[in-house]
Symmetry: C2
Subunit: 498 residues, 2 copies
Amino acid sequence: MDPNSQDVSSDVKKGQGRGQDSRPESKEAKLPPKSSFSEWYHELLKAAEIIDVRYPVKGMCVWFPFGFALRRSVYGIIRELLDPDHYETQFPLLIPEQEFMKEADHIKGFEDEVYWVTHGGTSPLDVKLALRPTSETAIYPMFKLWIRSHADLPLKVYQIINTFRYETKHTRPLIRLREITSFKEAHTAHATWDEAAEQVEVAVKRYAEFYRRLAVPFLESKRPSWDKFPGADYSIALDVVMPDGRTLQVGTAHLLGTNFARTYEITYEDQKGEQQYVNQSCYGISERCIAALISVHGDDRGLILPWLVAPTQVVIVPIIFGEKEPILEACRQLEGALKQDRIRVVLDGSDERPGAKFYKWELRGVPIRLELGPRDIKNGVVTMVRRDGVKKTVPISDVRSAVVKEAEDLSAVLYSRALELMKSKIKDVHNVEEAREQTLIGVARAAWCGSVDCGHEMEDRVGANLLGEARDGQQQPDRPCLICGKQTFATTYLARQY
Amino acid sequence: MDPNSQDVSSDVKKGQGRGQDSRPESKEAKLPPKSSFSEWYHELLKAAEIIDVRYPVKGMCVWFPFGFALRRSVYGIIRELLDPDHYETQFPLLIPEQEFMKEADHIKGFEDEVYWVTHGGTSPLDVKLALRPTSETAIYPMFKLWIRSHADLPLKVYQIINTFRYETKHTRPLIRLREITSFKEAHTAHATWDEAAEQVEVAVKRYAEFYRRLAVPFLESKRPSWDKFPGADYSIALDVVMPDGRTLQVGTAHLLGTNFARTYEITYEDQKGEQQYVNQSCYGISERCIAALISVHGDDRGLILPWLVAPTQVVIVPIIFGEKEPILEACRQLEGALKQDRIRVVLDGSDERPGAKFYKWELRGVPIRLELGPRDIKNGVVTMVRRDGVKKTVPISDVRSAVVKEAEDLSAVLYSRALELMKSKIKDVHNVEEAREQTLIGVARAAWCGSVDCGHEMEDRVGANLLGEARDGQQQPDRPCLICGKQTFATTYLARQY
């Protein structure tokens, strides 16, 4: 039979007395409800074995094996998106003090947060070494050596590495860390400012595609001047609206212009034989992308992972009544067939009760569960349960195509559900009072004339942060700036930020 | 035509007046001959763009894009070999002083080499943090939390991370570094000493398979007690004989027994309900594997890379006489066909002369070069040149299968050539004088009774290091120990080590 047949007879299955609709009794602790977001988040990271926070240094965490498998598939997408026109490289972690201290704005932005290595063995070092909080000052002295002529441009590199920030604020796993274990930073050099600015747009498009694949919707803003990257002309940021209404910055792209090139003397010979400064951009994503992925999709039962990144995409649970071996054999055949399609499938042949298995694999967000019992085998069908609860009976001969179809449907459902949820948390506001109320529960969209004074005053009076000029909002009619009343079509998001 | 046809008509091609047999004139600096190994090695790392040593901290280097692509494919093999029964994880870089200082032997082995973070921002830290020189002291406090019962065993994890050693000796790129950027360390816990010891053997077998895939032969020794890993019961090491006759340790596996378990209180409840210490092993490989790969196979023209790890596996060089477009079109078709087979192919359509292209891609070790000119097209053939110089004419319809066959042949040739070379550098010696002479040019194999006193005396008098009891030597007849004269069948290698 053609596995790509469209003729999959399926129907919504009513409960069949197996108890899989009722929460199974289990020794496992139940998650707090997602409505208690902070507790739910912390408990889920532990229960689903993503991140272990018990490492004995504040703000530094351990990736559990399952969490790291998720990280691998998520960062595999990043590599896939960057590899066609970027080179992956790796630069040293430690930056000598004199290089780190060259760019004045950059220092100001980071100096309070830098960890310093001062000793090797028992001897003090001649030159203090900074643990990179970000790698501009490690990479650009090398760009100076690598770039000679216009033929070397554009140069686009990235690395996936650990960075360090001595955070004095409250730390949070995956969100605010002292060791960011999974920083993907890209750095580019171009002949002109326009080309570098164009690269910023390319970066934002790649990140948009990345989050599309994670089924995570986001807001896109041009950060206000006082919140741009230290040393940048401007910064574009992506923010995800978290379940509690606060926003999480999950990606940034910065136009550096010639600011760093002047400091680090990165020049190229142009076609006329003259030395010119390069124009640069840089853009980054950290493990916050995984925090967003988890937080946006998960439910009271645990993770819900899109097919593309799920470490286990399908779990097969044998439903044993009577003779065990024929059922296990049918499950093994099913497993083999799915493996042939390179599907990441696990056959859970352990001795636990089916209910306990359902609980365990739901907690870990497995997109599709297949159940196979004696009645199914007799009828030549498999019971297919999607992680969002949709349940179908599928002829066993059609399972391979049905699984792929349901996986796609699930990702589409996750995205549209997340998008609806995000929209529901954003509201247009027309005065400071409305903005203050809205930012207690979500994101406010407000008219802002764009002046720094009005921006600061808005932040102070609303008690929330300006995300900056909205780049993805529908064109708004002219409205009065929330502070000065000047007519403007420009819109900013206001939110409490993680 | 069947691309898998065995009927590939091919013959060794004589020079056809294209000049590809003579060294092309080029603006590129020529490599020193490989017989000047140290100069050749350093110049090759730069010319082939593997590693940039110009980073402004001694012993810390930058991976060039090409070097990093090689690292990715090499470490891809490591992951492939470990993933079936190990979990990949990631633990923090920074280790609090009190954890680091718990295991006495371990401290003694590393305390002179540890970098210390003492400040965050401008404030001194309450607790000094060590940059991991290796991760036992970061991982085992977590193993204590992760392991509860016999059901949790065996536990096998690995991570690929950067480690730091404040080397006071002369540093060398990829070989002796202050930042080891690519340390793969695996850590396992087992119920019994025997199981942990068995895991050490499994690790050695995996490493052997890894080096087989790199076509790199090695020696296998049980390190003498004074050279084992600090805190281990014993250490097994793999050493590659470098072109200058010195050995490079390229992999180690350590039996830790319960030494760390006692210090870090890692226990499990056995089947009788009693608490037992776990038995542990750990094993590691660093970017030295790439140093060995480069050094063993390369020649006066540059790198020679085995097919499996070459970032570019095939380069197509159009030989333009007369009309350009039909030739380029034929090259593009060839490129497309090879890409369909997931071969990493580059069509070098640049304006450089063919000779300059040959030089460039030979330098980078591309296993197979395909040349296509008007005469080839007319005759329906392609000229195929293997990186070791073997040249053939292949019908264009057979190229896909011919490329795969030649790639396999090249790897086999590389391995057997390397094995012969290694054997030629090892000699049995029968007294201290012979040992001293042999270790100036290669490795000496000598009888050693196994006593510590004889071992130390042998090292002193020979002026070289004992690699320890040879585990891969043919069984030797009893011979007198080089020092005390006692009859023994045990054999040790003696060598100058990197």
